[in-house]
C-alpha cells in the first residue's frame, strides 16, 4: 500500500496587506505627532494624583517657574505671541528688525526683562540660553512685566487658558506672586501642571 502523504502547506504568507496597514498607521502617527519643544529651562513638576489632561481648545498660556525662581512665559497661540511682541516692543520703543522677529519666533518662551529684549533677540535662542540672558520676567510690585505680557496675550486671545508649570523645588513665594498677578487681571482658574502618580488606596 502506498503511504499517504500529508499535503505540505506553504509557511510563507502574503504580508502585503499587513505591511500596507502598518505603514498607513505609521504615516498617520508621524504626521499628527508634535514633538516636545526644547525648553529653555529644565522644570521638574511635582507629582499629583490628578488624572485630568491639560485642556484649552483656544490656546494655552504657560507660565513656567524655574527652580531658581525665574518666570518664563510661552503660548501655543501664534497670533497672541506675535501681538505680545508687537505691543511690548512698542511700549519700550524698541524697533523690531526681521532678524529679531525670526529669533523671537524660533524660541518657545519669553523669559527676560523687557530692557534686555534687544540684546536677547539679536542672538539665536540657543545662544541666548548659553550666554545666560534668560533671567526670567520680573514680577514684583515695582516692576511687574509679567502683568503686561499676560494682559497683551489676553487682549489678542481672550479665550486663552492659563497653565502654571512650577518646578517642585521652586519657592512658594514666586508662585504666590504669579497667582497674585493673574488675579489682578481677574484670571482665577489655573491649571497646575503636574506629573502623574498613583492614587493611594
Amino acid at each position: 500500500m502506498p503511504k499517504v502523504k500529508a499535503k505540505r502547506q506553504s509557511v510563507s504568507l502574503d504580508m502585503t496587506a499587513m505591511c500596507d496597514v502598518a505603514f498607513l498607521l505609521l504615516t498617520f502617527f508621524m504626521l499628527t505627532a508634535k514633538f516636545k519643544p526644547e525648553e529653555a529651562v529644565t522644570i521638574v513638576p511635582p507629582s499629583s494624583i490628578s488624572e485630568k489632561t491639560i485642556s484649552g481648545e483656544k490656546g494655552i498660556l504657560t507660565i513656567s517657574v524655574s527652580p531658581e525662581g525665574g518666570i518664563f512665559l510661552g503660548t501655543d497661540d501664534k497670533a497672541a505671541k506675535d501681538y505680545m511682541l508687537e505691543r511690548m516692543a512698542n511700549r519700550l520703543s524698541v524697533p523690531v528688525s526681521a532678524e529679531m522677529k525670526k529669533n523671537y519666533d524660533a524660541s518657545e518662551i519669553v523669559g527676560y526683562p523687557a530692557g534686555a529684549m534687544r540684546q536677547v533677540l539679536s542672538v539665536k535662542p540657543s545662544d541666548a540660553k548659553a550666554k545666560g540672558y534668560l533671567k526670567g520676567i520680573p514680577c514684583d510690585s515695582a516692576n511687574n512685566e509679567l502683568f503686561l505680557w499676560v494682559s497683551y496675550a489676553k487682549i489678542s486671545n481672550p479665550g486663552l487658558k492659563v497653565a502654571i508649570k512650577g518646578d517642585a523645588n521652586s519657592n512658594y513665594k514666586v508662585f504666590n506672586q504669579v497667582v497674585g498677578t493673574l488675579q489682578e487681571q481677574n484670571i482665577n482658574t489655573f491649571q497646575l501642571v503636574t506629573s502623574p502618580e498613583g492614587r493611594p488606596q
Binding site: S12, M15, T16, M18, C19, A22, F23, L25, L26, F29, M30, T32, A33, K34, K36, P45, P46, S48, I49, S50, E51, K52, T53, I54, S55, V65, A163, K165, G166, D167, A168, N169, S170, N171, Y172, K173, V174, F175, N176, V179, Q183, E184, N186, N188, T189, F190, Q191, L192, V193, T194, S195, P196, R199, P200
Partner: protein, 171 residues
C-alpha cells in the same frame, strides 16, 4: 531575463524560455520596522500630554458672594519645607494648640481624615504656606485635600499671628 542560456539546448528550434524570477520578497523585516515605529509614535504622542490639577481662586472683584465659615470648623494647615504645622480655630486664642506632622501617609493625611470625621460636612481647610515652603509642598497639600475628598479649602497668605504661634511653640 536577458540571459543567454549556456546549455545549447537539446532540441532544435525549441523555444527559449526565460527563467521566471519570483516576485515575492520577504517582507517580515519591513513589517517589523513599521510596527516598531508605530509603537514609538503612539507612545510619544500620548505621553506628551501632561496632567494638570485644577485650581480655582476666589474672584477678588466680587464682594457679595462669600460663604460663611465658622472658625471652630476650620483647620489651618501651614506647610513648611519638611513638616506641616496645623491648628484648629483662631491663632490668637490661648486655647489654640499648634501641632506638627509630616507629609507621609500617616502624617497629614491621617490628620485630615480625623478632623473631617469629627467636624463633619462643614470642615474647611485653610492653607497658609510659610515663607520657607516650596511649591511642591503646596501641591502636596492640595493633593492631600483631593485624596481625603475635601472640597472646601482655601489658600491664604500667612498672617503674623500664625507666624507668632509657630515661633512660640518652638516646634
Amino acid at each position: 531575463m536577458a540571459e543567454v542560456s549556456q546549455d545549447g539546448g537539446g532540441k532544435k528550434g525549441g523555444k527559449k524560455r526565460s527563467k521566471k524570477a519570483s516576485t515575492k520578497i520577504d517582507m517580515t523585516p519591513m513589517v517589523d520596522l513599521g510596527f516598531l515605529l508605530i509603537t514609538f509614535f503612539m507612545l510619544t504622542t500620548t505621553l506628551a500630554k501632561p496632567v494638570v490639577m485644577q485650581l480655582n481662586m476666589p474672584d477678588k472683584t466680587e464682594k457679595d458672594d462669600k460663604s460663611e465659615v465658622k472658625m471652630s470648623e476650620t483647620l489651618t494647615v501651614m506647610p513648611d519645607a519638611e513638616k506641616v504645622y496645623y491648628y484648629q480655630g483662631l491663632p490668637t486664642e490661648a486655647s489654640t494648640q499648634l501641632q506638627k506632622t509630616n507629609y507621609s501617609k500617616d502624617g497629614i493625611r491621617t490628620v485630615l481624615f480625623d478632623y473631617k470625621r469629627r467636624i463633619g460636612d462643614n470642615f474647611t481647610i485653610v492653607i497658609k504656606a510659610t515663607k520657607g515652603a516650596k511649591y511642591k509642598n503646596m501641591v502636596d497639600l492640595l493633593d492631600e485635600c483631593a485624596i481625603t475628598s475635601n472640597k472646601r479649602y482655601a489658600i491664604l497668605e500667612i498672617d503674623p499671628d500664625s507666624e507668632k504661634l509657630i515661633k512660640k511653640s518652638g516646634l
